[in-house]
Structure formats: structure tokens, C-alpha cells
């Protein structure tokens, strides 16, 4: 067996056109994850009545389900249940008109929210309670404490972990091809099928993923350095 270098280059050139999708889905999921994950983490941190324990159950539930299952379950649910629901609500839109990219975004968003809420929870836990006492002692309300003390002190802790989450989301986005989204991974599969050079196509797409991941690591590293450099946290 020999490795066809040219086929790999060709496959890379083909699949790189879909890089936008591979970045877009995880990015949207990450943004949604940060927003909702933060809200969930705050509700749990301040032990909101009823809501906090319910959230804990939901988070634990979703934490234990592989992302593939979430994506497939969403797809099956939408493909069977969407049309009847749309019909009864008199919407004109049908399942076949929906871009499955939305299913991918929802699926990865669930993964992002669950992970982001846990990241924030960990970051909050690293803040000494005394910092919050100090905030209250100078007259801050809870909202002011969150805005002025809790978040600014947690973000440098959380940021590198969010870099990892983004990387995981990008890698997980390869699974979106299972619900019919064409990203760099399924593009590589397509180009492999055309020339029967699967190995070359997969190695090629792996190189693309690797390059993207390295860029993100360097990027978060830079931002992290600036943030913590400012605080000069004494260990």
C-alpha cells in the first residue's frame, strides 16, 4: 500500500472550502453555551430555590449522554415530529425545507451549555468566599458583586478551559455529518469516495483539524497571558 500525497493535497483543497461550516457550528454553539451556561452556573452558585436542584438533575442527565446520541435523537425527533407539529400550528414550513445545520447547532449547543455551566461552576468555586464578603461589606448588591467581582475574577480561570471546550466542539462537529451537514469531514469523505483514496482524505482532513486547533490554542494562550499578566496572581 502506498500513500498518494497528491490525492491528499487534492482532498485538502476540496474539503477546506467547508471550513466555514466546521468553524461556524461550534462557534455559535460556544456563544450559546457561554450565555446559558453562565446563567445556569449563577443560579446554582446562589442556590436558587427549586431551579438549582432541577438544573443539577438536567445537567447530570445530559453530561452522561454521548453527543452522537443527542444529534441522532434530535434528528429522529425532528424528522418524525416536526411536520405534525408544524401542521397543527398552521406553519407553512416542513422538515424537508429545514437546513439540518440547525439540528447540528442545537445538538452542539446542548453539549456546550452543559460543559460551560460546569466550567463556570469550577471557576466560581475557585474564588474565595471572602472576596464576596468584601464586596458585600462595601455595600455592593448581588448584581454588582457578580458584575464587578465574581465575573472579572472567574474569567481568567475559566478562559483556558473555554479554549479546550471550543476545541472539543470543533472535533465533535465532525459528527454533524451524521445528520447530513457537509463540513470538512464529510467533504473529505466525499473526495475520498471519488478517488478511492480514503486514507489520504482522512489524513488531509486531520491536518486541517490539527491546524485549526493549534491556532485556537495559541489564541487563547495569548488572551490568557494578557489577562493573568494584569492580575499577576500570586499562587
Amino acid at each position: 500500500m502506498q500513500f498518494n500525497f497528491q490525492a491528499m493535497v487534492k482532498s485538502i483543497a476540496y474539503s477546506i472550502h467547508y471550513l466555514g461550516i466546521t468553524l461556524l457550528i461550534p462557534f455559535v454553539a460556544l456563544v450559546i453555551g457561554v450565555v446559558f451556561g453562565l446563567i445556569i452556573a449563577l443560579l446554582r452558585y446562589y442556590d436558587a430555590k427549586v431551579v438549582a436542584p432541577v438544573l443539577q438533575v438536567i445537567i447530570t442527565l445530559f453530561k452522561g449522554i454521548p453527543i452522537v446520541l443527542i444529534l441522532l435523537a434530535l434528528y429522529l425527533f425532528c424528522s418524525t415530529a416536526f411536520d405534525p407539529i408544524a401542521q397543527s400550528l398552521h406553519w407553512s414550513i416542513r422538515f424537508k425545507n429545514i437546513n439540518t445545520i440547525w439540528i447540528a447547532i442545537v445538538g452542539l449547543s446542548i453539549m456546550a451549555i452543559v460543559n460551560a455551566s460546569e466550567i463556570f461552576r469550577g471557576a466560581f468555586a475557585s474564588i474565595r468566599k471572602g472576596q464576596l464578603d468584601a464586596a458585600q461589606s462595601i455595600g455592593m448588591t448581588r448584581a454588582q458583586t457578580i458584575r464587578r467581582v465574581l465575573l472579572p475574577e472567574s474569567i481568567p480561570v475559566a478562559l483556558p478551559v473555554f479554549g479546550n471546550l471550543f476545541i472539543n466542539l470543533i472535533k465533535a462537529s465532525a459528527l454533524c455529518s451524521m445528520v447530513g451537514v457537509v463540513d470538512i469531514f464529510s467533504a473529505a469523505t466525499i473526495s475520498g469516495q471519488q478517488s478511492y483514496s480514503f486514507l489520504e482524505a482522512y489524513v488531509g482532513v486531520a491536518l486541517i483539524y490539527w491546524a485549526v486547533v493549534v491556532c485556537i490554542e495559541k489564541g487563547t494562550g495569548l488572551v490568557e497571558h494578557r489577562l493573568t499578566g494584569k492580575m499577576r496572581r500570586a499562587a
Partner: protein, 251 residues
């Protein structure tokens, strides 16, 4: 004029009663030092006074306006109390992500909505008084414990509180840094600030306090002027406790 009056303060943690009915009256401008063995509830008592802990029973009067019952405190009262008190913590608790100057300004700018220029003037003045002005642009992690604590005092003083609380302000410091902080506290006391100090510095209590309170097991065992408590303690408990500090008490 009475500035602070607490009657029958009780506090339980679970089934464990930490404070068993503590009463204390403090005049305006008075310096009260609370001494006593560890676990006697001194710190908890202090934290009940600015509502960092919610006491279970008792009444509280602070300044001219605030009157409340600890057993039902509304969020308005809670905020009023936190706006009229300030605290200096054992572990300083300066905000790690802010410079020294920003730390002192924060309580003025955010909760009290003061303009930044005015707050900066006040903060500069306060830092001057604790001799930390030349470190105004430093972050807390770049300072020694004694320096951080002096900033902590400036942060609390800037708020012009009706009552300033010190929670063992020198206990976490290296011995050679204690003197600087005590000197600043002495200066604060001389300025007429009403303050309650929980401390193990007997010499400081003896020299600076107008009133010394000895607490043990969640009750006030004895209180009076420094000479009453240190030189002529009436209770056996007080004598036993003070015997550990023989040298400083007799000096």
C-alpha cells in the same frame, strides 16, 4: 451619644448555638476591643453586625436611622446596614483584579454612585493617610500582607462608615509587619471613628480601647475600661485567659 446598640443577639449554626445573647452598646467615636479565646464567637458577632451573617434573634440600632430586629431583616435594611458599616478582614480580601487605587474607589463608585473624579480624590487622600499612595497603581498580589491590610483599612475608611469593624486585622501578618498596621489603626481611632476591633493584640487593646469586652463561649463574660479588665478582672475566666498574656497586660 449612642452609635451602636445590640441587645440579646443569638446565632445558631445548625443545632450549635454560637452566640447566646450578646449585648453591646458603643458610643459615637468609641473604640471597643473584643478579646477572648478562639471559638468564643467574636468573629461571628462582628459578622452579624454588618449582616454578613444573619443572626437569629436580637435587636440592633445603628447610627441615627437604622433600627431593626435580627429575626426579620428585609433586603432594604440589609443594604442600609452594609452601606453604613465597613469591615477590615483578617485575610485583607482586596479585590485581586483591581489596583490599590481602584480597590479604594470601588465602594464609592459602584454602590454609592459617586463620580470617578471625586472618588479618586477621596481614595488618594485615604491612601496618603495609610502611607500607601506611592503603591496606588500596584495589584494586591504585588504587596506584602501589611501593605495589603493598610489598603484594606483605607478601603473601609473611604466609605466614612458609622461603624468600622476590624476582624483580627493583624492575625495573618508576619510579626514584623504588625506594627505598621497597628499604627494605622491607632491613627484611625484617634480620628474619632467609631470602631469595634476583634483582636489578640492585648497591648493595642489596652492602649487604644475605650472599652474592652471579654467574650467566651458565646457570651460576654466581662466588659469595662482597659484598666478594669486588664488590671482588676472580676471573673475567674477573664483572669485565666489574661494569664496567657501576662507581660503585655502588666506593662
Amino acid at each position: 451619644m449612642l452609635q451602636v446598640q445590640v441587645e440579646g443577639l443569638k446565632k445558631r449554626f445548625g443545632g450549635n448555638e454560637i452566640l447566646k445573647g450578646v449585648s453591646l452598646a458603643v458610643d459615637k467615636g468609641e473604640v471597643v476591643c473584643i478579646i477572648g479565646p478562639s471559638g468564643s464567637g467574636k468573629t461571628t458577632f462582628l459578622r452579624c453586625l454588618n449582616l454578613l451573617e444573619q443572626a437569629d434573634e436580637g435587636t440592633y440600632a445603628l447610627g441615627e436611622k437604622i433600627r431593626c430586629d435580627f429575626s426579620h431583616i428585609g433586603s432594604n435594611t440589609r443594604r442600609e446596614v452594609s452601606m453604613h458599616t465597613a469591615m477590615v478582614f483578617q485575610t485583607y480580601e482586596l479585590f485581586q483584579h483591581m489596583t490599590v487605587l481602584q480597590n479604594v474607589m470601588e465602594g464609592l463608585v459602584v454602590p454609592r454612585k459617586m463620580s470617578k473624579t471625586k472618588a479618586c480624590d477621596i481614595a488618594t487622600d485615604m491612601l496618603e493617610r495609610v502611607d500607601m499612595l506611592e503603591r496606588a497603581g500596584y495589584y494586591p498580589s504585588q504587596l506584602s500582607g501589611g501593605q495589603q491590610q493598610r489598603v484594606g483599612i483605607a478601603r473601609a475608611m473611604a466609605l466614612v462608615p458609622d461603624l468600622l469593624l476590624f476582624d483580627e486585622p493583624t492575625s495573618a501578618l508576619d510579626p514584623e509587619l504588625v506594627g505598621d498596621v497597628l499604627a494605622v489603626m491607632r491613627q484611625v481611632a484617634d480620628s474619632g471613628q467609631t470602631m469595634i476591633v476583634v483582636t489578640h493584640e492585648m497591648q493595642f487593646a489596652r492602649e487604644v480601647a475605650d472599652k474592652v469586652v471579654f467574650m467566651a463561649d458565646g457570651v460576654v463574660v466581662e466588659s469595662g475600661t482597659p484598666s478594669e479588665v486588664f488590671d482588676h478582672p472580676k471573673q475567674e475566666r477573664t483572669r485565666a485567659f489574661l494569664s496567657n498574656f501576662n507581660i503585655s497586660a502588666r506593662r
